[in-house]
């Protein structure tokens, strides 16, 4: 084995990002590392490249234990990384980028001619015919990606980590990149390929390791895997049986609910294809799909984060405006986004201020909520949602993930919306808080609120949803109700009848 990782563990306050993960990489192998957001992929890579120091476990390269402390140390050891975006400097020439830090010098000065020759030599075998004295900015993302790979290989030369390298490439560029990667495999490099495009994983890789909630759940030869099994691994079981037991029983006859909202032909080019969606009063709608399939994009469209190109939203009073989050809030919508830390909470503000935020914004600054009102509001929700805090004045940033999520929920519940969108509300929180949030969802929907919940946890969707919409390739491809809601049917719908893929088949290339 070229690279061996044994029981690698990394914890952050409140969560265990990696829990005794094993990983093996052979020379001359392309090894896919898969998992949903928060599964631990990037933590694993950061431990490998020295960006994080591990809390436990061993990493050895060619049989020797290593503990890289920085990216450059990892590079010297032989581990190079190419990230999705920030790799190289667009304002420098290709040659400067390739030779940066190792420029050939004469009499203390950079020898531009030797630099150019060296750069051209580094690019040999990559099938690029470009002028290395031009700025990197003159070339496309795909070319830059290959240049970054060339640099990483020249600098390290044993292990190459490709972190979502294809995210902003078109089909033909992906194929070019794959040829390069295959060439490097044949030269004997060990390549770790991180991607959430399953087609690419099947097209390129030799072995697949799946991480889930910081644990390794599978490590198999790609040839032995089928799509359904792989998706099961990625979305598999995480919930306590107790939660599932208390979840919804899916009767054959789904309860008939009065219709609250209806979206007709709602869509946006390049974002989500137009879909129809009806929401019943007090209904929980689940949105299932893999990362990048159009889950979050659907939510953003419904909340006006991006404006729809087509379609209309209707309620019993006719159509209403959803062109901006402001309009959505006015229409009684709420949205708790996926990136809680970045988009959800204001970490430096107190629990009270965070809860009062949306309500205050909705009322406008002229009708200020008094401190007493805010405190009453905060105390009410701290009690109702059982938010574990020293008090309403504690900064939200100091709370655990689950309690932060409850604060975000409290903020929207204080608005008393009629339709609340929750994107991954239980990501990165412990099991207890997980169950509490699911119970809370059941409670508020019993009071008449409608909820759209997006989740990578199939069990969770099954436990709370009255209806499940499946998205794939940015389209709503299936709608499951009643007894149809089982993990088996959902996985099958995600894994796709291949016929549906023909028109978007280029992505698979």
């Amino acid at each position: 084995m070229l690279l061996t990782i044994r029981s690698l563990t990394k914890t952050f306050p409140g969560t265990t990002a990696l829990d005794a993960v094993d990983f093996d990489l052979a020379a001359g192998e392309i090894h896919a590392l898969l998992g949903e957001n928060g599964a631990g992929k990037s933590t694993l890579i950061k431990c490998l490249t020295g960006a994080y120091s591990r809390d436990g476990g061993e990493i050895s390269l060619e049989g020797r234990p290593i503990s890289p402390r920085s990216t450059s140390k990892a590079q010297e050891l032989g581990i190079g990384t190419v990230y999705q975006e920030v790799n190289l400097l667009a304002n420098l020439t290709v040659a400067q980028n390739l030779t940066f830090g190792r420029e050939p010098t004469r009499f203390g000065m950079v020898d531009a001619r030797a630099q150019k020759r060296q750069a051209e030599a580094m690019l040999e075998g990559y099938g690029l015919d470009i002028d290395v004295s031009r700025n990197l900015a003159a070339y496309s993302v795909a070319v830059r990606q290959i240049i970054a790979i060339a640099r990483a290989v020249a600098l390290s030369g044993k292990v190459l980590i490709l972190d979502e390298p294809t995210a902003s490439l078109d089909a033909r560029e992906v194929e070019t990149l794959f040829d390069v990667v295959r060439g490097l495999r044949d030269r004997g490099l060990g390549i770790v390929f991180v991607s959430h495009f399953l087609d690419q994983v099947f097209a390129l890789t030799d072995r697949v390791t799946v991480l889930r909630n910081g644990r390794r759940v599978a490590s198999e030869r790609t040839a032995d895997l089928n799509r359904v099994r792989l998706i099961e691994h990625m979305l598999g079981h995480a919930l306590e049986d107790e939660v599932i037991a208390h979840g919804k029983t899916h009767d054959a006859a789904a309860a008939q609910r009065p219709e609250l909202l209806r979206f007709e032909n709602f869509g946006r080019r390049g974002h989500v294809e137009p879909f129809d969606l009806a929401v019943g009063r007090g209904e929980v709608l689940g949105l299932a799909g893999l990362l990048g399939s159009g889950r979050t994009e659907s939510a953003e469209l419904l909340f006006g984060v991006v404006e729809a190109h087509s379609g209309a939203a209707r309620d019993e009073n006719g159509t209403f405006d959803l062109s901006s989050p402001r309009a959505a809030v006015a229409a009684g919508f709420g949205y708790a986004p996926e990136e809680r830390k970045e988009d959800g909470i204001v970490a430096d503000l107190s629990v009270r201020e965070n809860i009062a935020l949306a309500l205050q914004a909705h009322r406008g600054w002229l009708r200020r909520l008094s401190g007493a009102e805010q405190a009453r509001l905060a105390n009410n929700y701290i009690a109702r949602l059982d938010i574990r805090t020293f008090g309403p004045e504690q900064p939200v940033g100091e709370l655990s993930g689950g309690n932060q999520q409850k604060v975000v929920l409290a903020r929207w519940l204080a608005m008393n919306p009629r339709f609340l969108i929750l994107d991954e509300p239980t990501r990165g929180i412990d099991v207890g808080a997980h169950a509490e949030i699911l119970r809370l969802i059941q409670k508020v929907t019993a009071e008449g609120m409608s909820i759209l919940i997006i989740s990578s946890e199939l069990d969770e969707l099954i436990a709370v949803s009255d209806r499940v919409i499946v998205v794939r390739d940015r389209r709503h491809v299936a709608e499951l109700t009643g007894r149809e809601i089982t993990s088996d049917t959902i996985v099958r719908a995600i894994a796709a009848p291949q016929a549906g893929r023909q028109n978007s088949g280029e992505e698979a290339a």
Binding site: T71, S72, Q75, V86, N87, L88, L89, A90, N91, L92, T93, Q96, N97, F100, G101, E103, T105, G108, M109, V110, A112, D131, S133, R134, N135, A137, A138, Y139, S140, A142, V143, R172, E173, T176
Partner: protein, 331 residues
């Protein structure tokens, strides 16, 4: 031509055009005398602008340099008046002080992760205040060595005089060109200007480089102060107010991107000379108010910012087109 050179080419073209217009109206402006005067009169600005170019290339700014020049003049004048030190010794002391001052600002910028604007603004007030501490009057410099320095020149063909300080500026520009474009330090400066996070990933020692950048700017400001004291033969704490802004203008007119990461030290020299040329034209004309200099410099700055914007956009489109044709070739 390599598209990286477009802004520099534009700078040179504008300078050539401006000079052509001047010569058409006043044929005598086509002489080495005018050139000699242009170099001499703008020597201190050119030197300080070289330092500023490095700072701006790294994505920073140094607002302290005008005050540092004034401080330098006062420091030299007072030292020569009150001590028996030889001017050369005083120069060395001064350069040590201003370089250390620049290094300290760079250290603060890095250690506190503060915007260079604020740190060097504080430096600007600090240095101006220190100059006032030394004296509040204009102190003349009467030292035989100064007469020697001031009188030193090389007679160019056509009776133009390349003075010592004019030559000093040209040397400073040459040194700046080598540092910026031909050393690893220079590559790090460009890398920082392109993006600090990426630069760090590529192995730039950010702290060390930041300190060196501002130290270099301090050194150049000190050198500029020496040249200015030779030019005016005095030290005055109120001198060169706003010179930092003129230097920034020269850098931008010289084709350097104000946000950092792209530009040329040689362009800065052309920028300085363009500004000097406008001034010379107004002197030749005799009827124009000298405030026209400011107006034209303002318009030039605006034109260059627009030019850079459109060049950036053009290169983005051009990049896209290159990709497409490459794909078609592949297909």
């Amino acid at each position: 031509m390599n598209p990286r050179l477009y802004p520099l080419a534009a700078t040179i073209a504008i300078f050539a055009l401006a000079w052509a217009i001047c010569v058409m109206q006043f044929p005598t402006m086509l002489s080495t005398r005018v050139v000699g005067n242009l170099l001499t009169d703008n020597a201190y600005l050119g030197i300080v602008a070289v330092g500023m170019t490095i700072v701006i290339l790294s994505g920073g700014i140094d607002l302290s340099v005008g005050s540092v020049i004034a401080f330098s003049g006062v420091f030299i004048a007072v030292m020569l008046r009150d001590t028996n030190l030889h001017p050369l010794v005083v120069f060395v002391l001064l350069l040590a002080v201003t370089t250390a001052f620049g290094a300290a600002m760079g250290g603060l910028i890095h250690a506190l992760a503060m915007p260079p604007f604020i740190v060097t603004l504080a430096g600007m007030f600090l240095m101006r205040g220190l100059a006032y501490m030394l004296t509040i009057d204009s102190v003349p410099i009467n030292h035989p060595f100064y007469d020697l320095l001031d009188g030193a020149y090389w007679l160019m063909p056509g009776k133009g005089r390349l003075t010592l300080i004019g030559a000093a500026m040209l040397v400073a520009v040459a040194v700046g060109m080598v540092v910026a474009h031909r050393t690893r330090f220079g590559a790090s400066v460009f890398a920082l200007g392109g993006g600090e996070a990426t630069a760090r990933l590529m192995g730039v020692r950010v702290g060390r480089t930041t300190v060196a950048i501002y130290a270099f700017s301090g050194l150049m400001a000190g050198l500029s102060g020496i040249v200015f004291s030779i030019y005016t033969k005095s030290g005055y704490p109120l001198a060169t107010v706003g010179t930092e802004l003129t230097a920034i203008a020269a850098v931008v007119i010289g084709g350097t991107l104000l946000t950092g990461g792209a530009g040329f030290v040689f362009g800065t020299l052309i920028g300085v000379l363009t500004m000097g040329l406008i001034q010379t034209y107004i002197v030749f004309d005799g009827t124009l108010s000298s405030w026209w200099t400011k107006i034209i410099i303002g318009l030039l700055l605006l034109a260059f910012i627009l030019l850079q914007k459109s060049l950036l956009r053009l290169s983005a489109i051009g990049g896209g087109r290159a990709t497409r044709s490459r794909n078609e070739a592949a297909a």
